[in-house]
């Protein structure tokens, strides 16, 4: 067990970050250079003003027509994504590790209770998405096993993190699993649908540019 802990808290952290960062850079540069060659209109019609307005409308709940028509989904998605970013970046445990281990500097943290709630929100969000996939026909129709796989992959670090934090189960095991599943998720980002974290900005911005700058209408 100690060996596993040493592995996931040591070398694997580095590997995971390297793959995540390297993979993301590779993914985006290769997509963008291919776009340069074959979809050059993305650059030709790009308009930052419209892109930024669109980002704002689509990132905030109830900023778009569809978001207004789907209030529950909008709130859940918003809080879920907020949690997914806030919890890993602003949790005490993570920052301490980073400060002591690698970077030597730190930033403010979320109060433990807030981080706790945010982690629950993420887990709840995963459950809600799974429920949608199972019960709403239009979602079930386009759902594949991989979609559940991704939900599990995202939920795992949060579930294990909560267990470790609350002292449920064997602490060393939970902490190790927490680290391990977090690393898996990080590595998966550039290579799975989780890459929407990266491509969102391009697709949304391009659509916003076509709608706003070319067709003179709102895209939200």
């Amino acid at each position: 067990m100690n060996a596993f802990y040493n592995l996931v808290s040591g070398p694997l952290v580095w590997v995971a970050f390297a793959v995540f960062i390297g993979g993301s850079v590779w993914k985006m540069t290769s997509l963008l250079s291919e776009a340069r060659k074959k979809d050059n209109h993305i650059f030709e019609y790009w308009s930052w003003g419209h892109a930024i307005l669109s980002y704002i409308h689509w990132l905030l709940p109830f900023g778009s027509e569809n978001s207004k028509q789907q209030p529950v989904m909008s709130l859940v998605t918003f809080l879920f994504h907020l949690g997914i970013i806030l919890v890993p970046v602003f949790t005490m445990g993570h920052i301490v590790l980073l400060e002591e281990g690698a970077l030597g500097w730190s930033w403010p943290t979320l109060p433990d209770q807030v981080a706790d709630i945010a982690a629950w929100v993420v887990v709840g969000g995963c459950c809600y998405f799974a429920w949608r996939r199972l019960t709403l026909e239009q979602v079930r129709y386009v759902t594949s096993p991989a979609d559940f796989g991704i939900l599990i992959m995202v939920a795992a670090p949060f579930v294990t993190g909560l267990m470790a934090y609350h002292g449920w189960g064997d602490n060393l095991l939970m902490t190790s699993l927490h680290m391990f599943s977090g690393e898996i998720m990080l590595v998966a980002i550039p290579f799975t649908r989780l890459s929407h974290m990266l491509t969102f900005w391009v697709i949304r911005g391009y659509t916003a540019s076509e709608f706003g700058a070319v067709r003179h209408v709102r895209d939200w």
């Binding site: 963008l32 030709e44 569809n66 949608r132 239009q138 929407h196 916003a208 067709r215 709102r218």
Partner: protein, 450 residues
Amino acid sequence: MSEAEAKKKIDIDNIQDAGLDQGVAKLTPEHIEKVINQVMDAETGARMKMYVDTCVHCGLCSEACHWYQSYDRQPRFSPVGKVKQTIWKIVHQKGKLTPQEVRELAVVAYTECNLCRRCQQYCPFGIEIAYMIAMVRRICHKLGVTPQYMQDTCHSHSATLNQMWVKEDEWTDSLQWQEDEARDEFPDLRIPVGKEGAEIMYSVIAPEPKFRTQLIYQAASIFHESGADWTMPETRGWDNSNMAMFSGDTELAGRIVKEHFESAMRLKVKRIVMGECGHAYRAVYDVGNRWNAWKMFPIPVIHSVQFFYELITSGKIKCAEKYPEKVSFNDPCNISRGMGLHDMGRHVTEVFCDELIEMHPNREHNLCCCAGGGVINCGPPWKNKRILGNSAKADQLKRVVDLGVTTIVAPCHNCHGGLDDIIHHYGLPLKLKFLGDIIYAHMEKTRAVE
């Protein structure tokens, strides 16, 4: 079971279409694989990849589609459901499809999606489903599997550069005939043909000289009354419509648009004014110019709605007496969502009509009439399926009928076709008008004889 429900039970899955059936009969698995992969490799790139890989299968685009709304929310009609049946299949099977599967692609792509882009406005990522569906059509075109009626209009474009097999002498004859007719009302009216150096070239879609010649008379009256310096081409390129853009024949689509612009250049006009058609506007603005490697128009092009707006705000035409009935404005996707002309259209309507009542959703969020994107051009075999595929629009129309509306103003030829069918099928007491109809009938005619 109500009558409407009973009618929905028509067999929408086994519709025969000679174009599709004969095309499919000629296919071999090797040919299919080769063509699909050639299109996917050579003609798509990062954009397609990003759309396919980013879509999180959330189904949030479903509600946007009138097909989905109209067919009892069956998932196969949801936008992402259509992508699943087409592009995902192509990607997963690496182009190895059976002839029957190719037919299924064609049915979804040509007859179940209007490329109206409404779903793009409802997807959190802004994924353009219409682009993917258009790519499927491209593949079907290259495989020779296209709906017969649509292909027929493309053949006409190819041979005559107009959609309706109108020959050159028939074209000028039609113009002269309308000029003659109009001179009873406006003695000095001319339809200048091939006049070099005029300010405006007026272009129409081929169904105008073929079936709706009256519209040319009306447009000529409006030009005449406003004192415009205009002309129509005597040569090919007078037709601004473009069915090839819908069949997936991009080469031909580009040729049509090029000829349209070149006839304007030959005539040395300052700009082109187009008749009231949404899809033709899309062809020159969105599709043809890019295919010809122009970022924007090589010569400014405006849609009738913009032109009418200009004439009214500059005082060149005035309303004599308002259209007395309650009207509602149908936003054609290709000029509302496609160009933001919804407010100008409303302005013109309000100047000429007593009361404008809004239908919802509207403006850039309008629901498509279900004729657009070439779906109506798939012809009679698909008509009932298409009409049932837009009961959502019928509901929308019913709601304004309940508010006392008797007339729908729709500045788009396609919308007229689609709405006309819906109005008849669902028995709605509604008249359909172009803006030109209303302006012609209700403007001050200072140059007319009694």
